[in-house]
């Protein structure tokens, strides 16, 4: 059953369940894939760790100005 997807038509608001193979036909009529609300979201990349020496440099710069 994984070959079936939900589509939505932005103009009519209509939704339907169709086979993935039909998408090329339906795109021509303006249909779009509907994002499933419970679909797993792509993982958000963790922020890059800040090197310790960068923080130390900033502090030392401030101390030099004062």
């Amino acid at each position: 059953m994984g070959d079936w997807v939900r589509i939505i038509h932005p103009e009519t608001g209509g939704t339907a369940s169709v086979h993935q193979g039909a998408l090329s036909h339906l795109y021509a009529s303006g249909w779009q894939l509907q994002a499933a609300p419970d679909a797993p979201q792509p993982p958000v990349p963790a922020p890059a760790p800040v090197p310790a020496d960068v923080h130390d440099t900033a502090v030392s710069d401030l101390s030099e100005e004062s």
């Binding site: 193979g21 090329s24 009529s29």
Partner: protein, 159 residues
């Protein structure tokens, strides 16, 4: 004085006039909107033959003891042959991809074309099969069998 004749019809043959659409979704199939029809797919250019898509009623006999005549009353609404046969593509990219078995939606028949004010029939359907007969010497085609899942909307004005 005799009864006046019915008004004369402008007669036609279905080729180049009648259209069949497949529409994936219609909010109220008893009165589709123009936008919903435009979101459909016009199957007409690939159609080879079609079933009659007749909306009929069975005759229920109601015999009684007082007469030899078997009177009948209208019974349940039934469908005639609900098939559409379309040409097959040599690379297999044809209506099979749009209408695999199990697909639900609506077949809209425009006997006199998709013209505002004329009449159309709307059939809620589910695709039952895709028969691929091999007939030597003839263009290969696919016969799609549709099962009508709810009472069709008959003679709806085209929006």
């Amino acid at each position: 004085m005799t009864a006046p004749p019915i008004s004369a019809s402008a007669r036609y043959i279905p080729e180049s006039v009648t259209h069949f659409y497949f529409v994936a979704a219609i909010a109220s199939y008893l009165s589709p909107t123009r936008a919903e029809l435009n979101a459909g797919t016009d199957l007409t250019p690939e159609i080879h033959t079609v079933g009659d898509w007749a909306i009929t009623s069975a005759a229920i006999p109601t015999p009684d003891l007082s007469t030899l005549f078997d009177a009948t009353i209208p019974g349940k609404i039934q469908m005639g042959t609900t098939t559409i046969t379309m040409y097959a593509d040599s690379t297999s990219t044809d209506a099979r991809t749009l209408l695999p078995r199990g697909t639900t939606g609506y077949i809209v028949k425009f006997p006199e074309g998709d013209v505002t004010g004329r009449k159309m029939d709307v059939f809620p359907v589910k695709v039952g099969s895709q028969a691929k007969p091999t007939v030597l010497g003839s263009p290969s085609d696919i016969t799609f069998a549709f099962y009508v899942t709810k009472t069709p909307a008959e003679n709806v004005a085209v929006p």
